[in-house]
Symmetry: C2
Subunit: 117 residues, 2 copies
DNA sequence: GACATAGGCAACCTTTCGGTTGCATAATGA
DNA sequence: TCATTATGCAACCGAAAGGTTGCCTATGTC
């Protein structure tokens, strides 16, 4: 778990950006919230409650799957989607790292001011 | 700090989605990484090192500012951008909440299996 | 005042996104 | 077998994203 540096390998940042982008939509965020209870659901089930066509939901699920947030498992004639916490855990630790970097910088600033009144 | 529920007010989710979306781009992610050291920088400074025009960087900074991740402070003839950790902290706690929900669901599943061998 | 520097504004372009519709196909159940 | 259900595939569409270029304005500097 390397802290974020300006010159970090682009591949890692590219992956992270794709996960962020996948979550950057209210519909997809809502889908993730529903699936985070651990129960896999079919496309038909997931389409209920949205003012969108099944195809639109299918596309959103595809985006989330590409980002690794969901996995698709075929069961008979239906596609079940199940949640994977991995990518979102990675984002969480990344955000924590940035926040810590920020806190440290703030601490140094305060110390500097205290020593140069 | 309410845990994410499927029926959460859309306004909150909309804000979160916009922050996620703002971070869903490698260039913007890189800009954030640079500014997270606490030092405000001008647009000219921030434009260095990218194969993009100054205007492109300006647009990216605008997106980050709209999401509340950066603040703009005019100083003389230059616009300085400074980091604000707030929105990213919110995302972090949101992601943590989802992960905990997931862990709890997994725990219940294991308990169920253990009791029904 | 003359000139260089930093940035804002606006028009324009191409690609991607989010969405729809129509139709084809695979599994199921009566 | 036949109708139904669940999904996949592809074409299409308008709007937004990401980017460029050209020009204008404000602020420093000599």
């Amino acid at each position: 778990m390397s802290p974020p540096t300006p010159d970090a390998p682009v591949a890692v940042d590219q992956l992270r950006a794709s996960v962020f982008a996948a979550l950057g939509d209210v519909t997809r965020l809502s889908l993730v919230n529903r699936l985070a209870d651990g129960q896999p659901r079919s496309i038909a089930q997931l389409s209920e409650g949205y003012p969108l066509s099944r195809q639109a939901i299918t596309k959103h699920l595809g985006v989330l799957e590409s980002a690794g947030i969901l996995h698709r498992v075929r069961s008979g004639r239906q596609s079940l989607y199940e949640f994977d916490a991995g990518p979102m855990r990675d984002l969480s630790s990344y955000l924590e790292a940035v926040s810590r970097q920020w806190d440290a910088a703030l601490g140094r600033l305060k110390a500097y001011i205290a020593e140069n009144p």
